[in-house]
């Protein structure tokens, strides 16, 4: 099962974990990305996430299909939030289940690494004294 969503409401770790549970699964690995309060020494007040939704979903589907083939995952759940997020809010949850835990760790790490490279989602950090699109400039 593959469950991919872009959501503007708070994400739910319990829900994503439950979605990937399986009678045959011995290991579930969940990555939870939260908003940090600092970046390169500056204090972050909040973040704005924006997505090109249809393509973001399609790129996340590609990632899920790749890990399904490569690591033989039972289930993959990827939820990404958009809109305005405060410190500690959850921006992304990726949960994967496999028969064995080593595969689950590798698959989950591949998923978040690739998501950060290919999925068309952008974030703007709002500082006390300005704002900046993350990674936009060299």
């Amino acid at each position: 099962m593959i469950d991919i969503k872009i959501l503007s409401e708070p994400l739910n770790v319990e829900l994503c974990t439950a979605k990937v549970q399986d009678d045959g699964a011995g290991g579930i690995v969940v990555f939870v990305g939260t908003v940090r309060n600092h970046t390169k020494g500056k204090t972050v007040r909040c973040l704005e996430f924006e997505a090109y939704e249809s393509m973001a979903v399609s790129e996340m589907q590609k990632i899920a299909k790749t890990i399904e083939e490569k690591w033989n995952t039972y289930h993959v759940c990827m939820h990404h939030r958009v809109g305005s997020l405060g410190i500690q809010d959850i921006a992304v949850i990726i949960a994967v289940s496999c028969a064995h835990r080593k595969a689950a760790f590798e698959a989950c790490q591949y998923a978040i690494d690739t998501l950060k490279q290919t999925v068309p989602i952008w974030k703007k950090e709002i500082f006390e004294d300005g704002e900046e699109w993350v990674s936009a400039h060299p």
Partner: protein, 79 residues
């Protein structure tokens, strides 16, 4: 060629609008990119820039078709 440009993130702040129509003598992504870099020099200063047509990333050599929607993708930063 008539095209619709759609831009996100910082590109949306550099171009006139999230979505706008153009009519330019370009046939490939590469030619469109050069033309945009001339009109909007700030685009060239980005860490990277990609283009998508029909929800897929496209190479520089990709041939555009009349009325294509071309999405400008500045450096992504999900997660």
């Amino acid at each position: 060629m008539k095209l619709t440009l759609i831009s996100y993130g910082i590109a949306k702040e550099i171009l006139p609008a999230h979505k706008h129509e153009i009519d330019l003598p370009v046939h490939t992504i590469d030619e469109l990119k050069s033309s945009l870099f001339k009109s909007y020099p700030a685009l060239e200063k980005l860490q990277s820039i990609s283009f998508a047509v029909n929800e897929e990333y496209r190479e520089d050599s990709f041939s555009l078709s009349e009325n294509d929607e071309v999405v400008i993708i500045p450096p992504v930063a999900g997660g």
